[in-house]
């Protein structure tokens, strides 16, 4: 069967599957980050430019927990989102909450500034070169799948990202809390009139969106080296993903994120030079055909 695949597409099968897996992993990060952006945008009406910096913070907190407190990967998985999410709550309370009555633009500029500050502080503290973070012992090694070797950790990233995405989707679509959230996204004043503390819900939503970015950061730490720029390089692609998917639907951002990751991986196999730009080209095509995005409401 492998020979048939190779015969059909003219590319060695391990290369194809290897890039597909890498694409899936990138897609996992796109999905988690664009999901967080969409949730925050839905309720707060701001585009969180700090998202990339918070993704980076998630990875750095994992590194610090290991280097300074001796707490391993699984503790980081639990504590890093809590710590970074809490820092997000403080940012929302102190800065962002002052801007809800103003033009969206100011929210964007404020979060851009906050992102610059965070990135600059980390660069001063840790330098620009990356810090290594080891794959936990339970997840190291690789499985022989017959057609390729799959590093266990990479498989774990895809599974974990899917789990967090689906869990977020279930919370928003199927729980009472999620119902409040969806209602407040549509008509915040009306929900407040029913006696629900909307400002607190906004704060917690921001914290949760940020925590999701931090989870992605912890997942990314053993794959990419932990460095201050890791978020800003990713976040611009994530913005393009958000434009392609449209921020109207939670499931839409998950599907778009994974799908574009795979497309990017395939492009690396067939036309490597275009792999850095393919997502932006898709964005242009989507804008021409469906300006509201694949899953967006016009």
């Amino acid at each position: 069967m492998l020979e048939t695949i190779e015969g059909l597409i003219g590319v060695p099968a391990p290369l194809l599957f290897g890039q597909l897996l890498l694409g899936l992993i990138n897609g996992a990060f796109y999905a988690m980050l664009s999901l967080g952006l969409a949730v925050i945008f839905g309720l707060l009406n701001i585009i969180n430019f700090t998202h990339g910096a918070q993704f980076m913070m998630g990875a750095f907190v994992a590194w610090m927990l290991l280097a300074w407190a001796g707490l391993g990967y699984w503790w980081a998985m639990l504590l890093s989102p809590l710590i970074v999410g809490f820092s997000g709550i403080i940012l929302e309370k102190v800065f962002i909450s002052r801007l809800y009555k103003l033009d969206h633009l100011y929210g964007l500029l404020l979060t851009l500034g906050l992102g610059l500050i965070i990135e600059g502080v980390f660069r001063n503290e840790f330098g620009s070169s990356g810090l290594p973070y080891r794959i936990p012992a339970e997840l190291s090694g690789a499985w022989d799948l017959g057609f390729m070797f799959m590093p266990i950790y990479r498989g774990w990233v895809v599974v974990a990202a899917l789990f967090f995405c689906i869990a977020t989707w279930l919370i928003i679509e199927k729980t009472r809390l999620g119902a409040y959230l969806r209602a407040a996204t549509e008509r915040a004043e009306l929900v407040q009139a029913f006696g629900i503390n909307v400002p607190r819900m906004i704060t917690l939503t921001y914290g949760a969106g940020v925590a999701l970015a931090a989870v992605a950061g912890v997942l990314a730490a053993p794959i990419y080296s932990v460095n201050p720029q890791m978020g800003s390089n990713l976040i611009i692609v994530v913005f393009a993903v958000v434009v392609i998917g449209g921020m109207g639907s939670i499931l839409g951002s998950i599907v778009t994120g994974f799908g574009l990751g795979i497309v990017e991986g395939l492009t690396k196999v067939f036309w490597p030079e275009a792999s850095a730009t393919v997502i932006f080209v898709i964005m242009a095509i989507v804008l021409l055909a469906r300006p509201a995005g694949l899953f967006g409401k016009a």
Partner: protein
């Protein structure tokens, strides 16, 4: 076209009172303009001319950006693409094709405007923050293109670009000669932007900023106006990038990188969105800060971020806007 008569249907205060003056400059603006021209005349004797030229290039870039954000309300997060590409094209034209500086600058401007046609056509399909994200993503595409394309020289950039001879016979090799060229280009761009803003076209731009649906209901094709404003802004950004390349003799990836798009936003915000002199003052603050605080390294990024936050939270009018507010004049 009955645009002047139609626009009066919008209540005064929305579009702003039209005051008589020269090329749309009112009294206080004329005084400020004369002060600016005097400062331009003495600056190269008091400060290092290359520093002033750098400042003027960024001021022109910020003027171009301000035309969009300040007067049409369009937030472009990808202006580095036009600035940087204008620089690359001018550099290539001057070095490889051997064009004279004025032709290289025009080439840079034309390429900026041409890219503006394509990007604007795509981006104005969406509004608000989507517009910002789309321009940002398209600019990132240009960045990756510049990393790979053969003519940009990748990580090295285009180096040792000759300044050449203006009109084929005036050598630009001395910094003072180059300075006067930069100053003249800046003044033309600056006055040109002002002229556009105070034309009937500019009035429609401002109407779009204040209330787009209403402008549409008055019978204006707002998308066409937005696109033309976008192209003008991109062309001017290309000119600014071209001039900067000729001044320094080098075109690199720094000028197409996203952080450059962020910096021009910062300059305009610090100076004052929608003020005429704001971009110049803002460019002075940001470029001056980079120059004099360079030894602080990454702390400059932190300070820039802090200024963003402070501007958004505490003084959204910017420096020039606050001064104008203090003396009750429009600057």
């Amino acid at each position: 076209m009955s645009s002047e008569t139609t626009i009066t249907a919008i209540p005064t205060g929305v579009v702003g009172k039209q005051s008589p003056g020269i090329w749309g400059f009112n009294g206080s603006q004329l005084i400020a303009l004369v002060l600016m021209l005097v400062a331009l005349g003495v600056a190269p004797f008091l400060l290092y001319p290359v520093f002033v030229m750098k400042l003027l290039c960024f001021a022109l870039f910020a003027c171009a950006f301000n035309l969009l954000i300040g007067y049409v309300g369009l937030m472009s997060f990808g202006h580095a693409a036009f600035f940087g590409m204008g620089g690359y094209v001018a550099g290539h034209a001057a070095k490889v094709w051997g064009l004279t500086p004025e032709l290289s600058i025009i080439a840079g401007g034309l390429v900026g405007a041409g890219m503006g046609v394509a990007f604007g056509w795509l981006a104005i399909r969406r509004q608000g923050i989507y517009f910002a994200m789309i321009t940002m993503a398209l600019a990132q595409m240009v960045y990756f293109f510049c990393v790979q394309a053969p003519f940009t020289g990748g990580e090295d950039g285009i180096q040792a670009i000759p300044r050449g001879k203006l009109f084929g016979f005036i050598s630009m090799d001395s910094d003072m000669a180059m300075y006067w060229l930069v100053a003249v280009v800046f003044v033309i761009g600056f006055v040109g932007v002002h002229r556009v803003i105070h034309s009937p076209f500019g009035q429609v731009m401002k109407a779009i900023r204040e209330n787009e649906p209403r402008t549409t209901s008055l019978g204006y094709r707002t998308d066409d106006y937005k696109l033309v404003a976008f192209i003008l802004s991109c062309g001017l950004a290309g000119v600014a990038g071209a001039v900067k390349t000729l001044v320094f003799g080098i075109a690199t990836l720094t000028d197409v990188h996203f952080s450059m798009s962020g910096e021009v936003v910062l300059m305009t915000l610090v100076g004052g969105l929608g003020t005429i002199f704001g971009p110049l003052i803002g460019a002075g603050v940001v470029v001056g800060m980079q120059n004099y605080l360079a030894e602080l390294g990454a702390w400059v990024t932190v300070i820039q971020g802090g200024i963003f936050v402070a501007c958004v939270l505490a003084f959204r009018r910017g420096i020039v806007g606050e001064i104008g507010n203090l003396f009750k004049v429009k600057l």
